[in-house]
């Protein structure tokens, strides 16, 4: 399958690194390939810009950073400005529709899902990133859905598994319920 790159960008506190870690774990532990997750964040504990990059490959990875991403998940306006607005058309772009105002002129239009609102409606704001991963699972074949689920179960605190699976399904089924925009 060669080298695939995913970037998740937003601000601290959104579970960005955890998302990246789940993807990486799914790819390298459960899908048996290789994966490298790098992250970058500022001095703030919350609210500073935050970025996770996952490289997935079937051979060992040397350069561990994104060169041209297959997928970008964008969770803040700043991140959109930096990575989303001018992303190449072949990049699959997913945004949280409540946190990012998309430039109407952008083409192709990014996919969007109000993951943080959905999570808040669920009463668990922290699962927004899992909803997002569910949504990703439908849209991309970088990691298998099965592996993603296993990785989630392996990564979340004991006792929260059901909840997180529910969030995953929510994201997974979002298109079906809300009609795909693609």
């Amino acid at each position: 399958m060669g080298r695939k790159e995913i970037r998740v960008a937003g601000f601290g506190g959104q579970g960005i690194v955890l998302s990246g870690s789940i993807v990486g774990k799914a790819a390298s532990i459960f899908d048996k390939g290789f994966a490298a997750l790098t992250q970058s964040y500022g001095p703030e504990s919350r609210g500073g810009s935050c970025r996770a990059e996952v490289i997935v490959s079937d051979v060992p990875i040397d350069y561990p950073y994104v060169v041209s991403p297959q997928v970008q998940i964008i969770l803040s306006q700043d991140a959109y400005a930096e990575y989303g607005r001018n992303a190449p058309p072949e990049t699959l772009l997913i945004v949280d529709s409540d946190l990012v105002k998309i430039d109407p002129s952008q083409n192709p239009k990014p996919l969007s899902i109000p993951a943080s609102r959905m999570a808040q409606d669920l009463g668990r704001p922290v699962v927004a990133n899992i909803i997002m991963l569910g949504f990703l699972a439908v849209r991309s074949d970088i990691v298998s859905c099965e592996a993603l689920k296993k990785a989630i179960l392996d990564s979340v605190p004991a006792g929260t598994e059901d909840f997180n699976m529910k969030a995953f399904e929510l994201g997974y089924n979002y298109d079906i319920e809300h009609g795909s925009e693609v």
Binding site: S21, S28, I29, F34, A36, L37, G42, D62, Y63, P64
Partner: protein
Amino acid sequence: MTEYQELTGKFFINGDVACAEGAISAGCRFFAGYPITPATEVAERMSTRLPQVGGIYIQMEDELASMNAVLGASWAGVKAMTATSGPGFSLMMENVGLGVMLETPCVLVNIQRAGPSTGLPTLVGQQDMMQARWGSHGSYEIIALAPISPQDIFDLTITAFDLSEKYRIPVLIMSDEVVGHMSEKVVIPHVAPESLLNRRRPEVPPGEYLPYKTDVGLVPPMAVAGEGYRFHVTGLTHDERGYPVMTADAQDRLIRRLVDKIRLNRDDIIKYKETQVEDADIIVCAYGITTRIAQFAVKMARDEGIRAGLLQLITVWPFAEERVRELSLQTKAFVVPEINYGQIVLEVERCAGGKARTILVPHMGGGVHSPETILEAIRETAQ
């Protein structure tokens, strides 16, 4: 206190966590540290894991205390480690010297960030490489290893403990923020205790034991506190009995041995990895995370038809002097990318001795080189 709870299998973990697991696999049962980005996760992991395996985690009041607690623990017979980054590394230096002088096995991890001073706490640097060698006062030698991935830091942490026990010296793991914070698959094997090295223990009865008398080789056997040997050790210049002797003669004997036990065993200690150097016109010499970028750049160069190769320094100190000298006779130039303003390049240049050109590709820190930057340097050098 309890049996070792072994943790084996495949895990997607970052370098800091892998380092902690490597330590535990190596038999480390004592960690004293002080939090600092980006090394904190080593401590955090240890604080969870050590109590599980009957070890002790303690957060000391600062890095000076941490380094000393590690030395103390080692002298109580336990394999001990600490982890820090630039500012804390500076603070530990005085007592790295004590470790060297008392010949204390232990491991010190530096997950390098960008400096000087507080610098860029969350971002990468490779700027403490010369400090690793020269950061404490006095004449001494040290061992320093540079891992390139979470798996590598796991493995090298075990190596570090082995070397520290074998040569009775603090061993430094000079990693960096990228390796520390990046997550990759790490295979944790069953590590058989018999496969690990342990300091030689005295074979003579207490009355006959002299703490710094060497029998075979240059490394004396080591008694530990509480065994009845009733030994004395001191950071002052000392004789075989461990007693202070304030003469140039005693100094000469002691320091020569401390230095030579590393210098004369360099073939055992120094590890490097070569890729396509046989026919290389240009050899990129790299270590730590930069190796992986260099690898990428060398591939690109080969694709362009440039005969490039890669020399990865696994052991950074002692420096692979002989090998660089040899290579300088067969290559045209060394290209040395470092996340600093020129450190290991000075050693490469020295050992190249005018036989091969030496080109530094500096990065001031806060990120890794782009592969293109290194490629560009290779290209220019090739012309």
